[in-house]
Structure formats: C-alpha cells, structure tokens
Point group: C3
Chain length 278, copies 3
Amino acid sequence: DGHSGASITISGEAVAGVKYIEDAAQETTQYLELDFGIAGKTTTDGGLEVGASFDLDLNTNGEAAPDDEEVYISAGGITLTLGDVGAADDAVVGNLSDVGFDGIGVDDVAEAFFDITSQNILVKGEFGAITVAASGSMDEAGVDAVDDFVVAAGYDGGMYSVGISYADVASGDFEVIALGGSVTAAGADLNLFWHQADDGSDTISGYGASVAYPVGALTLVGTVGTTDLDDDDADFGVGAEYDLGGGVSLAGGIGQVDDPFADDDGITVADFGMKIKF
Amino acid sequence: DGHSGASITISGEAVAGVKYIEDAAQETTQYLELDFGIAGKTTTDGGLEVGASFDLDLNTNGEAAPDDEEVYISAGGITLTLGDVGAADDAVVGNLSDVGFDGIGVDDVAEAFFDITSQNILVKGEFGAITVAASGSMDEAGVDAVDDFVVAAGYDGGMYSVGISYADVASGDFEVIALGGSVTAAGADLNLFWHQADDGSDTISGYGASVAYPVGALTLVGTVGTTDLDDDDADFGVGAEYDLGGGVSLAGGIGQVDDPFADDDGITVADFGMKIKF
Amino acid sequence: DGHSGASITISGEAVAGVKYIEDAAQETTQYLELDFGIAGKTTTDGGLEVGASFDLDLNTNGEAAPDDEEVYISAGGITLTLGDVGAADDAVVGNLSDVGFDGIGVDDVAEAFFDITSQNILVKGEFGAITVAASGSMDEAGVDAVDDFVVAAGYDGGMYSVGISYADVASGDFEVIALGGSVTAAGADLNLFWHQADDGSDTISGYGASVAYPVGALTLVGTVGTTDLDDDDADFGVGAEYDLGGGVSLAGGIGQVDDPFADDDGITVADFGMKIKF
C-alpha cells in the first residue's frame, strides 16, 4: 500500500536423492525435501528493519505445513526475534558439517545436546567480529513457558572463528556447555566441536571434527564424531559435493553410525542426490 | 499463458507482541499472527473483473492452514463472491474498533450477534455513496445449507457514514438488526454501533462507541461497549497507536471486560506490540 | 543468491460454479476449486534444467494442503522426475475430455483403469514427434514400494496423435493396456480411447470418444464412454465453453452417468460455472 520499503519474497531450496541405511526396514529409499519460505520485510522511517516469515516445507515422509513463523525487528546490529526462533547456541556456535546430499547423520550423536531446547524469544547482537545471543521463553496462551535459557558468544577472526554457549535446560535438569571453532588452513575448512551435558552428578561429552577441501567445483568432505560413553564407537563419514552451477550441486556421502549405548553395532549409511537453491 | 491482464500477488500482514489477561492460566503471553494471502486477478475482454484468493495464516496458537478460498466476478460496481464469503452485515455495516495491537476484546460482547452467521454466496453493489449487500448459502456436497440470510445497506456521506443490516439466523431461530455509524468531527473519528437479537419472545441489545483521535503520528483510541443484560457491566478500553512509517506501527491498549451473565466479575486485559503491513 | 538462471514462480487456476447430481443427498451444490502452484527452476552451467514444485490447492470439500511435491532434472529432451509423479500412461496417452466447468464425470467409468497406479519415479523422453515414458516406484522410509510399473509411447503427427501404454499393476494382480488417439478433422478435435484390464482370467474393456468443435469464442463439446460389462449403459454428456478472454471462460455440461454394475440406473448430472487461469 505504498510502503516504498516493503517487499514480500519467496525463496526455495530442494534436495532429492537416494538414501541407504543398513538393516533398515527399507534399506534404500527415495528422499525428497522442498523447503520454500515466504518473507515480508520493511523499514520504518527511523531506520528500524522489521520482518515476518514462515516456511512451506514438504518432504517424502509427509510433513507438509506452513510452519516456523517468526517476526523480527532489527537496528544497530541488534535483532529481536519472536516466534519459532530456535535457541541462541544454534544461532552463534558453529558445529559439525554432515556429509551427503541430505546428511547421513554422522554428526548427530556428537551434537546430541546442542540446540536441544526451543525458545520463543531470541536476541542477537552483531558488533564487528563479535556476535552475542540469548534466548528464552515466555508463556503463550495455554502453554506455560519452560525455564530454559541459552546464552552464546562468538568471534570471527577471518581465517578462523570460535563460539561458546551455555544452555540451562531447566526442563531436563541439566546444563550444556558447547565450544565450536573453524579454521581455514592449507586450502581446507576445518570445524572442531565439543560439548558437555552435566546434570549435577554425571557428565556426557560429545565432540568431533569435520573438514571440507575444495578442488575447483568439487569439494571433498569428511566428518568424525563421538561421545565419551563406554559403548560409543566413533561415527564417521566421507563425501563429495560437485557444483554444477546455477545453484545446483550433486552430493553424496558414506559412513558409519552406531548406537551410543550399545557395543559393536555400527551400521553403514550412505546417500547420493541433488541439492538445489532457487 | 499470455493473459495480459492476469496477475498473481502475495500480500502480508503480521502482528507480534504481548498480551495480558488477568487471572488467566497464563496471565502474560506472547502472541504472533502472520496473515499472508495469495490472490489471482484477471479481466475479461468484456471488462469483467474475475479473481480468486486464499489465505496462508499462522499464529502462536497453532492455526496454520491454507483457508478462506473465494472466487469473485465484478462489473459495474456489482461483485458476486462465492466460497468463504462471511456475511453481508460484516461487508457493509461499520462496527466498533477494538484497542491494542491485536485487540483486547472490549468490543466483543457489544457485537456478539453481529457477523454471527457464515454464508457461501455474497452479492455486493456499490453505487456512488450507496452500498447494498446480501448473503445466503447453498448446499455443498455433503453439507446442507443453513437457511440463514443477511441483507445490508450503507450510505457514505463523506464526513459521516451509516449502515443497517437485517440477519435472519434461521439456524438459531432468531433475527438480528444492526445499526452502525461513523462521523468525523473536531479531528476525531467516532464510531457508534447498536444491534438487537430477537427470538420472538426475548430481545438482547448490544451497543457501544469507539473513538480514534490522531495527533501527528500518534492516534489515541478508546472503546466502550455493553449489553442490556442485567448482570453485564460495560467493557471499556483505551489505547494508542504510533506510526513508525514503512507500514509499521506500535500499538497497545488496556481495558476491562466482564462476563455478561455474571455480576461484578470484570477483569483487566491489556496488550502491547507491533503491527506490520508488507 | 546470484543464480542468474534461477527463478520461483506462482501459477494459479480456479473454477467456481454449481453442480447438479440427480438423487444426491444435496442435488444442487456450490463447488469451488483453487489450484495454485509454486515452482522453482534453474539451469546448471552445463545446460541441465533442474526444478522443484508443489501445489497449494483448496476446494469446497475441504482439501487444503501443500501437496504434490516433485523434483525434476531435464536435458536433451529427457526428464527424470521424483516425488508425486503420477504414472507414465497419464503422462503420454491422451484420453477423453469431460464436459462442464469442473467435469460431470461422463468419462470416469470408461477410463476406470487408466492412470490407476501412482509411482515416485517418472522418466520421460521427447524426441521430435515421439514421446516415451516409464514410471516405477522405489521404497520410501517406512513405506515399501509397490511393484507396479507403467511404460508408454506416443506419436504426434500434427493433425493427429496416438499413444499406447502398458501398466503392470502388480499391487492389484492385473495388467492394463490403453490406446488413445486424437485427430483434427473438419474443424473438430476428436479423441478416441480404449483400454482393457486383464487379471489373467477375466478382462474388462472401457472405451469412448469425445469431440470439441470450436465456433469462434464458443466451443461445443460432447463425450460418450462405456465398458463391456453387461449392466453398464453408456455414459454421455454434451456441453459448451465460452471464452471471455483474459484467461476466463464460462463452461457447462449435462449428461447421464450410471453404475456399471447395475441395470437401468442412469442419473442426470450437470454443472455450470467459470474457469479462470491467472
């Protein structure tokens, strides 16, 4: 209605391919996922940026619904977001890359307590190389807020970055500290991640590393992750991604994952497919 | 397909803020609502305007679905709409404004029988200052139509407007007459509303007034409404809305609402938040 | 993100009108259907066309969901589609046209075994006048694939076209052969269709013809179809469609359909309404 700064845009991504999970009821399966988003954005006379967005996602498994509604206001490097905001650790601390077109899950166990709580208020500040964020929850009609909160801080040094977060998961009576770092060296991008959950009497640590090594349009990737649980063997995977241009790439990965609570039970997982950004 | 006059547009609005309801299970709650719409429009060679639209709405309470599908044809000031059309009283007769960023509900009881029936056919004619409308229902597959119908007429005199409607709510065995008017005077916009439901033996009247007084970018608002039920005290609220430009405004309100069937039970309600148009 | 060839588009169609079904619980009903689609498309540096799409459809009967997700890659006339792809017979072989703004169903029984199975992989090749296609299914997580597959081939001779398909409907223990052809002669477009389902001991054939005869902006249409079941009388209908320009047309039809398994039970069906393309 004549708001010169207002706009609504549609964005979209899709993946399509084949997944293999050893000994699953269906070992080799087709998988599609379409993630489209609709976002409105405007700017007030005073320079405040204001926006709202939601997702229209569909996948083979039947998820199909408008979801993830958010409203944000942003000024001077500080952004306040309300709605389905996730948590501050995920917003700041880098974690492991998975391998494959959709991810075969070799990073899941090593990051099991990362981004584990969900909030409806997120404040994020970006000041030059430094990023800080905090997330918490307030009541919604008919839903009492959990007392969980998360704070996180990060520093981006150009060729390297580091981040740290503290999550008080009151709803689960435990706390999580996470450390993530990345460094570009010798032409490779290396991510390192460690986190520890502590319920006052016991601790569990999960940690790992992932590396991406670009060679022209091809990028070779590798990931390893594990926990300090007695029966947990390391999960690991290797893969490759080939950029076809136009926002399209072919990607695949193969690796081994296992149940962290059982011994000698690793299974082979793999995927191969296409990633598309519109 | 080369239809020079055809277009599809996306529109969007959002509100986000905090609501307070005294003695509710959650007294202070976060509330978000995103109302996006997709509409197609075209014009025939003979000048008939034809369109179809639906909504993609999400809110904190979990509503999230494509809904409110409508198809309309329009020519010479007359528009025929099929689908989720609402009713003719709501299409013509002005009613009370609520206060707050999303509305605290001070107008609800005073308008309880207004726009109370839902039809699937709406005819609306606009002839200069005069607007007339009628709505009714026909069967849908598997759903017998209710016999309800609504007729309404309005006159817009520039600095004032008036509207009247008659609803035969056969599905509830009662009739509703509503009168609404607005007038701009001394820099303020004043809305007046009265309606009465009659089931042949008893009548209930609901009525009220709302005022909006703009002072630069700030608009002060106030609303009062009640019924003639013995135990119903007046609901009332005051609020303010501040236009930040770019389609964004801050708005808040505070007031008192009560159960019309119980004595001395008023509770305080309030909200504060942001309204955005993209 | 700077993909010069990438785009996302919204398309839309709608129908709205009135349907009549003799002796139905509701004989005359309102019917609306809005079929909007969101599609992303891009082209790789090597000239591969890649896209993803889904539908946002709503109708009077309450269907309202994002659905029909597909991802395709295409090059050199060959397109591979994954997702809700339908089947190869429907992708290649022409069948009967129905009459009316939304279709009164006079072609349904004659085509009962056509496009009867649903696959998640479709390969289609278009080489000049020749089109070939095959569809089959692979497992999805939690869903075993059916063993059904369909192959089809078609030839487009300009003033005429023919197509043939073979469907092995293993999930139903029968096979279907279908033949479809169309010819333009004396100003009319004539479609002919025949198919036969065979379960090894019995066969059922369904067949019919439809004709469209354009006279300026008006097109007269007629359809007849039946099976070789003893108690099945022919279903037939006549109709007209009038092009109003701008992507809008008025269309209506009237005809008779009957239960193929019962004698002398034909009922009258009709519809009239508007078709809109945005």
